[in-house]
């Protein structure tokens, strides 16, 4: 049996404060899952019963929210989650080529973690940056107006 799932005290305090912030405690599920992801890099399945205990919300309801939304990582990702838009305008402006080039450079398939654990490349849907295509979202940050070379350069600067 692996070590039990724990959250930092700050995270648990955050969850408790979110429970009081909205008109219903259920609204705290999304912010709490983000908080777990901030700490662990992803949302491990053990987080669900753990949050359920703190929040007093059935596990199944928390799990439904976890699995409904794209931004929650249900598997571990690399330190830099590189999300490349391949929707309409971005595809028309080299988005797919950008994604392919990044996958090739870091030697990963879509959604996989690179060997050194630093990078995951994912193809995602429209990020609302169509005028500055092609672009990528690295963790929380938008980096726009890219070429494959520029993208790799930026990622290197960030530490990837």
């Amino acid at each position: 049996m692996s070590t039990a799932f724990t959250l930092s005290k700050e995270a648990e305090e955050f969850v408790k404060s979110e429970l009081k912030r909205y008109e219903t405690t259920y609204s705290a599920i999304i912010p709490s899952l983000f908080r777990v992801q901030k700490e662990k890099g992803w949302v491990p399945p053990e987080a669900v019963p753990h949050l359920s205990g703190i929040m007093g919300i059935p596990e199944a309801h928390i799990n439904e929210v976890l699995y409904f939304y794209t931004m929650f990582n249900k598997k571990p990702v690399g330190k830099f989650h590189v999300q490349v838009c391949t929707n309409i305008s971005c595809s028309m402006n080299g988005g797919r080529e950008l994604a392919n080039a990044l996958c090739k450079h870091y030697n990963v398939k879509d959604g996989e973690i690179s060997g050194d654990g630093k990078v995951t490349v994912s193809r995602v849907e429209c990020l609302g940056s169509c005028g500055t295509a092609p672009m990528m979202q690295v963790n929380d940050q938008y980096i726009e107006n890219l070429t494959p070379e520029l993208a790799i350069k930026k990622l290197k600067e960030l530490g990837a």
Binding site: Y22, H61, T70, M71, C126
Partner: protein, 425 residues
Amino acid sequence: MEIKLLTEHYSKNEFQGLDGYKKNGGYAVLPKALKMEPKAIIEEVKASGLRGRGGAGFPTGMKWSFLPANNEPRYLLCNADEGEPGTFKDRLMMERAPHQLIEGMIISAFAIGSKKSYIYIRGEYDYSKAVVKKAIDEAYKAGFLGKNILGSGFDHDMDIYSGAGAYICGEETGMISSLEGLKGQPKLKPPFPAVQGYLRKPTIVNNVETLAAVKYIIRDGAAAYKKHGTEKSAGTKLFSVSGNVVKPGNFEVPLGISLKDIIFNICGGLKPGRKLKAVIPGGSSAPVLTEAEAMKVTMDYEALAQMGSMLGSGAIIVIDDSNSMVDILQTTMHFYHHESCGQCTPCREGTGWLSKIMHDILDGHAEVKDIDLAIKISQQMMGKTICALSDAAAMPAISFLQKFRSEFEQHLAKTSHKSGDHHHA
């Protein structure tokens, strides 16, 4: 050609913060509005002809007047989920002018008697979330939010809420479900949100641009607002233009401007050597226009509806002749398949089926009869579901396959593998 009504000060970086906003006319309309009768504000908004700028184009004043005359708490929800492919105007508005949105929201909340509002921002807009939250905190400190705003006796609290990656949360009841802590699945209508919305209370859901526009309608009056645009499509609109234009971006123009003007005069036209092939006028859900149609149409609700398409979110995707319509349709169908919430059977299964057929057509594993099958499937997906995502997937499919049928057939003729086995996971 461009009219900088809402976007007047967007080029100034200071406009983002409270001081810079106030220096440029900010929070000057709020005191005026708080001295009006709430009913008068609703009437002014009605008279202005303002229509929802998020996609549906529903008359805003009329939506507000659907609120029942009871004393249940009302909620104002700002829909900043901006997920319609091609749309990035709300992002601009939140990043450059969060206080403009806040002021518009306080005025709107006062008009409808709402004491609590949320700005539901899509999860990926990290910077917008930070900027808007900071602005809300500044507004509280300055007394524009909280109890007894500017001594008017009106209390109002505002907060942001982050989405977590789901296009369907841009649907008003999907957004309400998400805000309630449930999966962002749309709700059965009736009852409509104005009667029973967030937590079963009367709720008004409006787009970012709509709420920001309210401030200008109250500042200048309905008549001044109506001077822009057409009779049935009054005012200005921010159009997000992308695709194959030389100068993509967000542009505020009067409704009724010709699409030709937008593409060739404002956005610098196409790259050298390219010809216009098609235009998606209102986000990926809007039926595509051929080059001929695009050169004739004006950007207002009526003209586009008459053309068999829609103004939608105002996201214009310009497609030149270097693109394959087959490819673009496949990308679009993949999107709806990914985003369907899964509640209703026709949408859940239909979006998957269409995506697979498009994959097959693109890869050359299909036949001409699959084009007709896809059209039939799309027709059967329309008008049968809880929300319009099913229609939003079906309409582009029908328009692409009908208007560009010869390109699809040629593609099949060129790439057909005749492998016999249809399978695309």
